[in-house]
């Protein structure tokens, strides 16, 4: 098991190199650069040249990449071309907001979608099942920014119950988390339902019932745990996707998270900031996926058996 974890951690190194190289090259292809963004339209060629010279922007892309990677080896993620602030510090300042939103949104979604998915599976083919599936479909197809705006109109403007944006306390978290959860619930509910349906007709459920286990306990003790692997995978994917920041939700609710930081930095051609943020996000997501894989082993002993080989 420990060997497996170490192997997975080592595999992160080539992934990091790949991700950073890719971003560097993409950013280089993009039209415009940091100097033009920082100095504006009125800057002279001379000013632009000096700005670039100062930050090494006149060097070829691979030279800049090599310099950047040398910095990373020393633990230095560089400084922003635009604000001159340390990338790591800026990221760490935004990260708690993203974590808060991602975890609360996902937890909310997990709670409701497991309940709804199990009920839909057990009442398969009934009106309850169809209603749950239609709700999931609506959640999946509804544009997030629109849902966010609707919630703001309803709960902030009309009812005045919750603040429409910002991040100054727990009440500021409610609307963005709910918006994010609705989007996540769609996939999670569908996954739970189909996974449950597959398991509920398995022979071992019948064996359990034949022992005298009640219908409810057969679902709770026998079916759910077996249905959990695909559900955990889906939870991991959903959580991972919002750890990179949920740009739309963050924008609608003026939430100061990582997603907006990255998108802003891309607009400003701030390569060190973009690369740094994405490397850190990749690391966090990779860790998360590793944790998901470790959880598998505890849910399903067969997987644990494979890891120790």
């Amino acid at each position: 098991m420990i060997r497996y974890i170490l192997k997975r951690l080592l595999m992160l190194i080539p992934v990091m190199i790949g991700v950073s190289l890719f971003i560097f090259i993409i950013m280089d292809f993009a039209p415009g650069d940091a100097a033009m963004t920082a100095l504006g339209d009125n800057a002279t060629e001379q000013q632009l040249f000096e700005y670039r010279q100062e930050r090494g922007l006149n060097d070829p892309v691979f030279v800049r990449y090599a310099r950047y990677m040398l910095g990373i080896v020393r633990g230095d993620l560089g400084t922003s071309y635009i604000t001159n602030r340390n990338v790591l510090q800026t990221y760490l300042q935004k990260l708690p907001y993203t974590l808060e939103l991602a975890f609360s949104g996902t937890l909310l979604a997990v709670f409701f979608s497991i309940i709804l998915g199990v009920i839909a599976a057990l009442r398969r083919g009934t009106i309850i099942d169809s209603s749950v599936m239609i709700l999931a479909l609506i959640g999946l197809s509804m544009p997030l920014f629109w849902l966010g705006l609707l919630l703001i109109i309803c709960f902030s403007l009309n009812l005045g119950l919750l603040p429409p944006g910002g991040a100054e306390g727990i009440e500021y978290l409610v609307l963005p988390a709910v918006t994010l959860a609705v989007a996540k619930m769609a996939l999670l509910t569908r996954t739970t339902r189909s996974s449950m349906l597959e398991v509920i007709n398995e022979d071992y459920i019948r064996t359990a019932r034949a022992k005298g286990v009640s219908k409810k306990d057969a679902v709770r003790k026998h079916a759910l745990r077996n249905a959990l692997i695909p559900i955990i995978t889906a939870i991991g994917i959903e959580l991972g996707s919002s750890l990179g920041g949920s740009v739309i939700v963050e924008t609608v609710f003026a939430w100061p998270g990582v997603g907006r930081l990255i998108v802003d930095s891309i607009g400003k051609r701030d390569t060190p900031m973009v690369t740094g943020c994405l490397i850190l996000t990749t690391m966090i997501v990779a860790m998360l996926l590793l944790i998901v894989d470790i959880i598998y082993a505890y849910v399903d002993p067969r997987i644990k058996g494979q890891y120790s080989k």
Partner: protein, 333 residues
């Protein structure tokens, strides 16, 4: 017969599966009696309704689409079909237990085998979890598995061992009636005999009555006291093993025997029953076997044959026996 001597009585049972493609008539008005401490064999081809009968006795017909239309099932004095869910949960595992066909899928892959046996004990007896696990170990020893493998998961066991665990689960609460649904079909031939012997020995020592479902007449001859032959959801012949094997009456039973290879005459051709089992959504009117029967006459297609009792224990449901002189080929010598 005194009701105390009866472990299981099935009366006029009808089981149907209602699907979009039509109603599957799985079990059509069958009667079945298992005497206490005896073994009844239930024989028939795939699709004859054997497993549906067993699941109906367990009151575990998957619903929807399954439905028990009619009938009475009396299990050691309990009318199971009119019981509430919670009452039935108390009967399952305690009064009646079942061994399933495929041990590969019958065990929960994420629980240890010890836990799975102990769960059954905990369901029906007021003992602590530690005691139940201890009992589970004893049960494992009883079915020939080392007790310290109780912490193993099903994937760590072979097919034969898994079936032993399934047997341990079924017998751990000492049920009155054991239903074994083709317990050896999924196993290697070399393991089959071992598992059958194990079931037989445990049944003797626990004084359990048994309903053994199989399509293997050899197993019936070896294990059973009585046998019922099932075809298209009906019982066409029943009697003691001796009666049915030596004084076969029904043409279908004869066909089953003729399909067996004869070890004394290795050159003899097998004579299979021609045709296929009828579509259970569209059973022929009258005798369901008539389209495949070599003795069929016009009368057979018109009405369902009545049960004819040849002795107190031997019954045949065949219209041809309304003529007193009728004999099947097997009995002509």
């Amino acid at each position: 017969m005194d009701s105390k001597d009866i472990a299981l009585e099935v009366k006029n049972l009808v089981v149907e599966y209602v699907t979009a493609d039509g109603t599957v008539h799985a079990v059509n008005d069958i009667n079945l009696t298992v005497k206490r401490q005896s073994c009844m064999g239930l024989v028939g081809e795939t699709g004859a309704g054997k497993t549906s009968t067993a699941l109906a006795i367990m009151n575990l017909i998957p619903s929807p689409p399954g439905i028990i239309r009619r009938g009475r099932i009396v299990l050691n004095g309990y009318e199971t079909l009119s019981m509430k869910d919670t009452e039935m949960d108390a009967v399952r595992g305690k009064e009646v237990a079942m061994i399933f066909q495929d041990p590969m899928t019958a065990l929960n892959p994420v629980l240890t085998i010890g836990e799975q046996i102990a769960e059954s004990i905990l369901m029906h007896e007021k003992i602590s979890k530690t005691e139940a696990l201890e009992r589970a170990k004893q049960m494992l020893e009883m079915v020939g598995i080392n007790g310290n493998r109780a912490n193993n998961y099903p994937y760590q066991l072979s097919g034969g061992m898994k079936q032993r665990v399934v047997i341990a689960i079924a017998l751990c609460c000492n049920p009155n009636l054991l239903i074994a649904d083709e317990p050896t079909t999924a196993l290697d031939v070399t393991i089959q005999a071992q598992v059958l012997e194990l079931i037989d020995n445990l049944r003797e020592s626990y004084k359990t009555s048994m309903l053994l479902i199989t399509h293997d007449l050899g197993i019936v001859a070896e294990m059973c006291d009585e046998v019922s032959v099932m075809y298209a959801g009906r019982i066409v012949e029943c009697g003691t093993v001796k009666e049915v094997f030596t004084d076969t009456k029904h043409p279908y039973t004869e066909g089953l025997f003729n399909s067996l290879p004869n070890i004394n005459d290795r050159n003899a051709q097998l004579t299979p029953i021609t045709g296929l089992v009828p579509d259970p959504t569209d059973l022929p009117p009258g005798c369901a076997f008539a389209p495949r029967c070599r003795y069929a006459c016009a009368e057979c297609g018109k009405r369902v044959p009545k049960d004819k009792w040849i002795s107190a224990t031997h019954m045949v449901a065949c219209t041809a026996y309304e003529k007193p002189e009728f004999l099947i080929e097997r009995n002509k010598k």
